[in-house]
Amino acid sequence: MLTTPVESAPTSATSPDAAVVSLDDVTVIYGKNPALKEVSARFARGAVGLLGPNGAGKSTMLKALLGFVKPEKGRMTVLGLDVAQRPMEIRARLGYMPETDAHIPGMNAVSFVAYCGQLAGLPAVDAMQRAHEVLYYVGLGEARYRNVETYSTGMKQRIKLAQALVHDPDLLFLDEPTNGMDPKGRDEMLELIRDLGHNKNVNLILSSHLLPDVEFTCDHVVVMDKGQIAAQGPIDELKGPAGRVFELRVKGDLIAFIEELRAAGMECHSTDEDVMRVFVPSGLASGVGAAGGRDQQAIFALASRHKVQVRHLRPSVPTLEDVFAKAVGQE
């Protein structure tokens, strides 16, 4: 079997500012349903989150980049290589962790991962050695001789990561990697992903509908909604516009109060808890008291005017949740 040294990435993808993945005007249609609508996006080097609610088109985008689905139109490049022209070269340098439970039947973990390494072009001996290494890395060292079919959901997530890593890819696609995991396992998985992206120089795209997962592991984010890009860029930039965020809980005519807040130029959206988050753009409440208290006073003044009781008001920091809510227009 012919072997070649591991190729370095094309120049266009190795420069620090180059996008590892780019999509230009990409449309994917399933039957009559458009899953991606004229999507243009750039994924920077490092860890990038692909964020969006279920059905937003995240998995479809990853599958299109893998060549599993053919776009109706548009151009895609991965690591500087055209997806339509050089899919094999791309896949040789790519690791894919699918969303659904996936394994090769009838194999134990170490055989499965080594087999995946061989499929990716590693010599048999190297594949076996790498299989042991990555299984230890993902925390399956002690269970590596067990049949994969006997694994728990969390272990199956880990072995999917191991098979994606075994051939040392330059880019990882992780599709909902924490699905079905218990809190401890989820934290460990996120630590692994963070380590890969930040300490091991593996570029990765983390597709998730879970905001905390993306915020913990990624530096950049691409927000998708209904098959389109809603926002994209560095997370710090996206969540750091001038202004302040407050957690607010009120009693009274909530709908009218929210309308009043919006009329006053503030943005507000609900969270999982019974608390809404209010974003007050800088300068909106100027001239009222000290800099730190002006915004609170503005909210209190509006509440007082509408006879709404403020039960809870606490300054917060802008989070990815605010970016996401703003991008997809969630109320």
């Binding site: 072997t3 070649t4 591991v6 659904t100 394994h103 090769i104 051939h167």
Partner: protein, 280 residues
Amino acid sequence: MSPIHDQSYRRYRGGKATPGSSWTVIAWAGLRAMFRKRAFMGLMLFAWLPFIVRAVQIYIASNYPQASMLTPTAQTFREFLEQQDFFVFVVTIYAGAGLIANDRRANALQIYLSKPLMRTEYIGGKAAILFTFLMLVTWLPAMLLLLLQVMFAGSFTFLKANLFLFPAITVASLLQVILATFTMLALSSLSKSSRYVGILYAGIIFFTAAIYAAMLAITGSTSLSWLSLSSNLSQVVDVIFRLKPRYATPWPVSLLVIAGLVALSISVLERRVRGVEVVT
């Protein structure tokens, strides 16, 4: 203190194979997996019993003139291959039904196709597994019988008179094996249950044979033998062995049906073996 073994993630510095050879990885893994099954090994050994019987027949015919009625002819080899039909059927179901169906059940196709291998390589690797096992129960024993005949007779007289047997055995085995391999792979790609695939394959073989038998009873003519999968194969293999075809159907028609079925199977595989199942 330095760690005994670094369990962290390390970058790989070794070489990688150029894309295009992954089908061999699939084939080897499949062959090894089947050979580890005792029941399958038993089946393969059982499939060689007719070979032993024929070998004994050739030995007796070569060494005892009073057993001249056992002297092998070209038809002997044709009959041997026909005897192996049963084992081809059983091995095809045992080794072939789960080849793609099990991967579909475990969502393995997206794992395979995210690696640098094409769909044709995946299908080629899977086909190689079944192809190898079927050739082991058809072509290999038939060829060994031919060699045994030369050895036991101590002369090349029979071989010189029947030189066409080498290509005939090869072509007949290939035809039988390719038809079984592609038909089974296509059926295997249609379901996630290997059991269902096995039943479906057996159903197709028996159902087409039953339809032909019913038509034969009604019309009294064998001109509709093209309705039966196994009859088509028998008809063409008879011609390959320079024997009189057993049915009234012209052999090119039977060959056309076989070719059509293989083409249909490839078309099914092309549609079903994908990294993502698109339901519209």
